[in-house]
């Protein structure tokens, strides 16, 4: 077993890479219990991720089910050298983008990604009294341009490496870094308005 490394208290621990590689090998060999372990570890993050592309919760659920079903059907082709986590996130992202094409045109979606429109800055007046830091962060994160939110969610909340995020988002790791740094700058401004002493 891998020793659990000490982490700062606020860091969401990512799924350890070691069990993922082990699960991948066992899944490839047809071990359903390893598949269940993978499913239980990644289902919730994947559904949350899918929801950012599609407004319909049931569509997000379907997309994730399909991705897992396909992974299992084609387990003999799993590559243990490649992150199964990145594979699943990428499959969910592609399926969710394809699924939402019926509702919005693809151009709109990509344009949104390219131009990254921000919904206007939160003004101090917008800040409901008594809103917790967590709820405030959620609103600020949701208001980020798509690519920035995507990069931060994958790396900070789901614990993927920047290289995995780049693989999933179909861009260079350097681009992921840029999205993250820009997103953090924006969040910092909004957090400063929320709590000038802490940020």
């Amino acid at each position: 077993m891998i020793d659990v490394l000490p982490r700062p208290a606020t860091v969401t621990p990512p799924v350890d890479p070691a069990p993922l590689a082990d699960w991948t090998r066992r899944i490839r060999a047809g071990d359903l219990s390893a598949f269940e372990a993978l499913f239980r570890a990644l289902h919730a993050p994947l559904v949350r991720f899918a929801r950012t592309y599609t407004p319909r919760p049931e569509a997000a659920d379907d997309v994730v089910q399909e991705a897992f079903a396909r992974l299992w059907e084609r387990r003999d082709r799993l590559d243990p050298e490649r992150s199964v986590r990145a594979l699943l996130f990428q499959a969910v992202r592609n399926r969710a983008l394809n699924a939402s094409r019926d509702r919005r045109t693809r151009e709109d979606l990509l344009q949104q990604h390219a131009e990254a429109p921000a919904s206007g800055p939160l003004l101090p007046d917008d800040l409901a009294h008594g809103e917790t830091l967590g709820a405030h962060l959620r609103r600020c994160l949701d208001a980020l341009p798509d690519r920035q939110r995507e990069a931060l969610t994958l790396t900070r909340l789901d614990g993927l490496s920047h290289a995995e995020a780049a693989d999933i988002m179909g861009c260079a790791a350097r681009t992921v870094n840029n999205h993250i740094v820009r997103g953090l700058h924006t969040l910092r401004e909004r957090l400063h308005a929320f709590d000038p002493d802490a940020f």
Binding site: A29, L32, A91, L137, R156, N177, L191, F199
Partner: protein, 324 residues
Amino acid sequence: MPSDVPPPRLPLDDLRAALADTPAPDREALERVWHALGEVAPDAPAPDTDAAWETLRSRLGAEPSVRPPAADRPAADRPAAGQRRARPAWPVAVVSTLTLAAIVATVVVWQGRPLRLEAAPGATEAAVLADGSLVRLNSGAALVVGRELVQDGVRTVRLEGEAFFDVASGTQPFVVETHDATVEVLGTGFNVRAYAGEGTAVTLEHGRVRVESAGAEVVLEPGETVRVEGGALGAAAEADVARATAWQRGGLVFEAVPLAAVFAEVERRYAVRLDAGADVSLDTEVTAFYADRPALDALLGDLGAAAGVRFAPTAGGYDVRPAP
């Protein structure tokens, strides 16, 4: 196997690398924001993982729950590649007459002699091969067919650039060779992109194909893509087929593509020269999608805005300069 266990890497390591160029006071502030993000409230409602697992499990119901572990068996024992090869390899391909009629103006019919068909910059071409297979060439691509299409029992063509193949069914395999890969057709409709300096990307629309490069191979199923980069064959991944084949309708797709590659594509597709000054940053990444062929003015206007450059007309094309 120790190689399967990557060294544990903290997410913070990646963040610090990303912030390496940020001045110290900002860097510390951004790290605090990053830590604070761990407190973010989850979106509601929480996904019901138990119920989802039961649904999925019943869907996979017929599967044996555990098979003997195969992790340590030699690769040759694994069922993957061999099993697939043994399946019947010829789902029937039908080139619809509608499709043919639409492109009849540019169709070249192969007439039993060596053929090198090139699509000039700004143009696309289509060819019907001796076996009835249809090939559509994107701008700046070339297709080479020998005196006989069938060589040693294999229908063989060579491709430089990008083409879409709709392969007629037949008893002989159909093979597309590129500079760094071999695509063997097991079914029918697929896109190959292999411009010089780009590696090869194969996207399958329908049927099945096998892609080989440097001794490795991948069998694609519909809706999948695989890339050869730096001589190495990647893994099959889900693809957006409509986008991979949008060029046939004049469409253009750039997703996080460096400006240098964008310019090369625009030069091929519009037969113009774009001369970028030394002060233009050619690794700026651009994302844009056009389902149909945009007018060149409109395209350059969009690219200019996205990449912070402007285009000044010259005799043969445009000079590219940073926007003032």
